[in-house]
């Protein structure tokens, strides 16, 4: 009994103590970036290289350049476990840290992005959902603080279709395309676009939802492999769903060369568990692959000096590179903002201006040593997507290889789609469109 009481008392005391303690605050002239990571939980295999990429890039900027124009970067990781409420909690906990507050949030989860759009807009913190989240947030008039560069899911669907069309000899008329998708907000994103393209291009489009988490796809692939027998299969998968899909596709003998995944079905963690079955599998990517870009020399050197933060095995993996590019966009936006507001730590509002006036030209990419890792983007008040593009890569059994150049989506029709959808959101929320002059 004594032991029980003591234990309970100790528990109560620690609870109280933690309630009183306040989180530490960053130093004066630092640019603070909250990092919402998922190094554990069902999507940890994807979350770990992402988080490593962020850590390494910011460490590199601080060590090699002494920060951005003398302003050091500060960051704090917060574990979300890919869980929406934990993501909100992390955001709220970290948004006030640093001398100017959070300057950018990268949720890396479509669900968390949705949950943060309103909060971040109210708090004037830019959200960079790089290749995920709401596609219609590309309309900067309705979503001033949300950025979707370099490319959205809808644009990704267009790129996929363009690639399939080219490979099929210039026409998809009468062909069959199947979409295998995670049955969630994320997976449903491309459907409207693909349905429109099906009408325009004359192919037959059928969709196969896969229930979360995606361990069960036997029925799906029996339908695809034995009944429908499509010419192409596109996939919007996530986590364990990807490797399972590849295995089941192999089990019904579907050719991997005709199987294209979106950029979230494109990492090493998605194909390695499928073993040899994955050889020949293709996917889109928004960043270049491999470690050939000059920046990797600096990163390797940093690691040789024992100052790298990432697991070495993750350097150069698809998601690590994506995080590098993401951080690069951020430092460029910071630089742009500093050019207008002075060389000090920027507030979220100033960073937002920096993003809207961001112009990542090929020259800037080369100067940063990121050649081949990304395509140029240029944002404006209207356009928060910035005209980026995607490559198609193929898994050869041990590594990814890019098999095309960056392919640009055809944005005219997409832009109409964005605006229509954003207008519906604005009407529901009672938002008046921002005037973009």
């Amino acid at each position: 009994m004594r032991f029980k009481t003591l234990g309970l008392a100790a528990l109560g005391a620690t609870l109280l103590a933690s309630a009183v303690a306040t989180p530490p605050v960053g130093a004066a002239e630092e640019q603070f970036v909250p990092l919402l990571v998922y190094r554990t939980g069902p999507y940890a295999p994807n979350g770990i290289p992402l988080a490593d990429g962020f850590d390494d890039y910011m460490q590199l900027v601080n060590l090699r350049d002494g920060g951005v124009n003398g302003v050091k970067l500060a960051w704090e990781e917060c574990e979300t476990q890919y869980n929406n409420d934990r993501g909100v909690e992390c955001y709220e906990r970290l948004k006030g840290m640093g001398s100017t507050g959070a300057s950018l949030v990268n949720p890396y989860s479509t669900g968390i992005t949705y949950a943060l759009i309103e909060r971040a807009t109210a708090d004037k913190v830019p959200v960079l959902s790089m290749g995920y989240g709401r596609a219609d947030a590309s309309d900067g008039r309705v979503f001033p603080y949300v950025f979707t560069m370099p490319i959205t899911y809808w644009a990704g669907a267009d790129v996929m279709m363009q690639y399939a069309k080219k490979e099929t000899g210039g026409s998809l008329k009468g062909k069959k395309i199947a979409l295998v998708y995670h049955d969630s907000a994320y997976g449903k994103e491309p459907i409207a676009t693909l349905e429109r393209l099906a009408k325009e291009e004359g192919f037959e489009f059928s969709k196969f939802p896969v229930a979360h988490p995606g361990l069960e796809q036997k029925a799906t692939w029996l339908q695809i492999g034995r009944q429908l027998r499509p010419d192409w299969v596109f996939m919007w998968g996530w986590g364990v769903m990807n490797s399972t899909a590849i295995k089941e596709a192999a089990a019904v003998g579907f050719p991997m060369e005709k199987f294209v995944g979106i950029w979230w079905s494109a990492s090493e963690a998605d194909v390695v568990p499928a073993g040899d079955s994955a050889k020949g599998y293709k996917s889109l990517n928004i960043t270049g692959v491999g470690t050939s870009a000059p920046i990797f020399r600096d990163i390797q050197k940093m690691h040789a000096d024992g100052k790298g933060l990432a697991d070495k095995a993750n350097i150069g993996t698809v998601l690590y590179n994506r995080a590098l590019v993401n951080s690069f966009y951020f430092t460029e936006a910071l630089r742009t903002a500093q050019a207008k507001f002075g060389k000090k730590a920027m507030t979220g509002e100033q960073i937002q201006w920096g993003f809207e006036n961001l112009d990542v030209s090929q020259a800037k990419i080369d100067a940063a040593g990121m050649t081949g890792l990304l395509s140029p983007v240029k944002l404006s008040c209207m356009d928060h997507e910035g005209g980026g593009s995607a490559v198609v890569q193929q898994w050869n059994g041990s590594e990814w290889n890019a098999i095309t150049d960056f392919i640009a989506p055809r944005r005219d029709a997409l832009r109409q789609q964005y605006e229509a959808s954003a207008a519906q959101y604005a009407a529901e929320k009672g938002i008046t469109l921002r005037d973009c002059k």
Partner: protein
């Protein structure tokens, strides 16, 4: 010393049956409410209000609902997430279809709708019992989430299936949802709403219907023999429980997160609420609050503790430790006091009555 009831005489059955028969309790509750209404909004920052107190209150509501069914009527349910989804989507459809409808009315109506769904899925309980029934409610869980996810009518044909709450005011300019809503208003509204609903629930359990639930829980055949209709008792428990859970789902989507997709109400949500009532105490309204506080606070506490103590541990390890400590704590609590936190509270009160004397 101060917690003595000597000299407090009751001259009517009504006074004897009051929820707080002891004067000190009434004072304590009044003080607590005063602190909750006046002090907390002034002292707590938006972080505390938004990410701890608001979800705590929403979860308390869900826990009360489940406790009515599982704790009072003894029907184990794992469909909580599905019923929360019902509430959220009903509220969304109602508030977008009838923009002039008052938000509180929207919540209550969506609760009513959920109650109807609850009755529908409660029918198997007339024949199936125990863990077998739990699986029947799992059918509700999976089916409902699938339905809201699958048919775009529920989310007004939004391309991604995510619903987001339209801006609505409680009265005048006090917005409860949307970008203009402040954490203080959200918190105060929830506090008032949940307090009233909790009081209702407490009184319900002390009424004829509540007693019939408990009779069914303790032994349904015996209850039937003494003239309690299991059909009515069980289905009313399902209905009222779903009513509470549905409202909590609507509050979750509208007040807490602001936008939500059907998958947010997956099976883990059901387990979360079930943990709350088991940790807090089955068959106790107070326990629902305590359990909700424990489950909401504990992970946040565990993930913040190392940083607060000045330790620099990688987030991975913290998160793994969080799992392990959480699991160990559940086992520890069950060994120490299987009837939950509410029982601990009661023991504490008994002790306090006698303190400082041993007898």
């Amino acid at each position: 010393m101060i917690y003595r009831e000597a000299g407090q005489f009751k001259s009517s059955y009504g006074a004897d049956q009051a929820i707080f028969p002891i004067l000190q309790d009434r004072i304590a509750v009044a003080i607590m409410l005063a602190i909750a209404v006046v002090v907390i909004p002034l002292v707590a920052g938006p972080y505390w209000l938004e990410t701890i107190l608001v979800p705590f209150l929403v979860f308390s509501m869900a826990a009360i609902g489940l406790n009515l069914l599982t704790g009072y009527c003894g029907q184990l349910s794992l469909g909580t997430g599905g019923f929360m989804a019902c509430g959220a989507f009903f509220a969304y459809k109602l508030s977008t279809a009838f923009p002039e409808l008052h938000i509180v009315l929207v919540f209550l109506l969506s609760g009513l709708g959920t109650a109807f769904v609850g009755i529908l899925f409660g029918i198997p309980s007339l024949r199936i019992k125990g863990f077998y029934l739990a699986v029947a409610t799992l059918a509700a869980q999976f089916f409902l989430v699938w339905m809201f996810n699958k048919f775009p009518w529920w989310n007004n044909y939004s391309p991604s299936g995510v619903i987001s709450a339209p801006p609505r005011a409680v009265f005048g300019d006090f917005y409860l949802t949307g970008t203009q809503a402040t954490p203080e208003i959200k918190y105060l509204f929830l506090l008032a709403f949940v307090s009233v609903m909790a009081l209702l629930a407490k009184n319900l359990t002390r009424s004829r219907i509540g007693r019939s639930w408990m009779a069914i829980r303790d032994m349904d055949i015996a209850a039937e023999i003494i003239g309690i209709r299991p059909l009515f008792a069980k289905l009313s428990a399902f209905a009222i429980s779903s009513f509470y859970i549905g409202i909590s789902g609507a509050l979750w989507a509208f007040v807490y997160t602001g936008s939500v997709e059907a998958l947010a109400f997956d099976i883990n949500r059901s387990f979360q609420v079930l943990f709350m009532i088991i940790v807090g105490g089955l068959g106790s309204i107070l326990g629902s609050f305590l359990g909700a506080a424990f489950i909401v606070l504990m992970p946040i506490f565990l993930s913040n503790a190392p940083a607060a103590l000045g330790l620099h541990i990688s987030v991975e390890l913290v998160s793994h430790m969080e799992f392990m400590i959480f699991g160990a704590l559940i086992i520890f609590f069950l060994i120490v006091e299987p009837s939950g936190l509410a029982r601990l509270w009661q023991i504490g009160k008994e002790k306090l009555r006698l303190w400082p004397f041993p007898y």
